[in-house]
Symmetry: C2
Subunit: 105 residues, 2 copies
DNA sequence: ATCATAGTTCGACATGTGTCGAACTATCTA
DNA sequence: TAGATAGTTCGACACATGTCGAACTATGAT
C-alpha cells in the first residue's frame, strides 16, 4: 500500500474534487490570474477578487458562486475575508505548494 | 477571464475529477509507487501493476476497480496494455507533467 | 474442447453534485 | 432608521457517481 495515511488521501482527494468542476476550476484560475505570486502571496489578500467579480465573469448566479467558493475554501485552496460590504478572496499558496509537492514527489 | 480555453479547462477538470475519489487516488498512488520514474517512465509499462494487484491491495471488487481504471484512463492519467491474461498498467508521465506545469505556471 | 483465470460490461440502487430562485444576514449610506 | 448592496443559506430537483453482483469476453492451461 502507498505510504499515505487515510486522512492525507482524503484531504488530497477533497482538493482534487474542489478542482474537478469546470466552474470551480475557473474560479480558482481567476483568483490565480488576478493575483500573481509576487503581489498576492505576500499581502494576504490585499489584492484579489471580490465574489461579485467572479459572479460577473463566470455568468453564474451568486448563490451558485457562493456554493463553489465554500467547496474551495473547505478544501483549503482559497481564503476569504470580509472587507466592508464585500468579501475578498485569494488562493492559499500553502495549499498550492502541497499539490506541487504531491506531483513532484 | 483566464487565458485557458473551454476545452483545456474541461480536460484539466476531468483529470482532477479522476483524482477526486479516494479509491481512484489510491490506485494512482499505487501505480506511481510501484514504478518510480527511473524504472517505469522509460520502459513503457514493462514494470508496473496488474489490475488484479490493485484489487487485492484496495480490497474492492474487480468490477469497481475496472470502473475506476476506466476513469483514470479516459482522463489520460494512466495507460494500460494487455499482457497475456493480465492487463498491465502504468502512470502516463506526460499527464503528470501537464499537471505539474499547471501548478507551477 | 473444456476449464480456469483475469478483466470488463451491464443493471440496479443509494447517495452525492450542480444549479436555480427565494428568503435571509451583514454592512454601508442617506 | 430605512433602504440599497453584497453574499450566504435553504429547499428543490434533475442528473452524476460509487458500489455491488451477475453475466460476459479474452486468454492460457489441461
Amino acid at each position: 500500500m502507498s505510504n499515505y495515511d487515510t486522512d492525507t488521501i482524503d484531504q488530497l482527494a477533497e482538493m482534487f474534487k474542489a478542482l474537478s468542476n469546470p466552474n470551480r476550476l475557473r474560479i480558482f484560475l481567476e483568483l490565480i490570474d488576478c493575483c500573481p505570486p509576487g503581489t498576492l502571496w505576500q499581502q494576504d489578500g490585499e489584492c484579489c477578487a471580490f465574489v461579485g467579480d467572479l459572479t460577473r465573469v463566470l455568468e453564474i448566479v451568486p448563490s451558485t458562486v457562493s456554493h463553489h467558493m465554500k467547496a474551495l475554501r473547505q478544501a483549503g485552496l482559497i481564503k476569504m475575508r470580509r472587507r466592508g460590504k464585500q468579501i475578498v478572496c485569494w488562493v492559499d499558496p500553502a495549499a498550492v505548494q502541497a499539490l506541487v509537492r504531491f506531483f513532484n514527489r
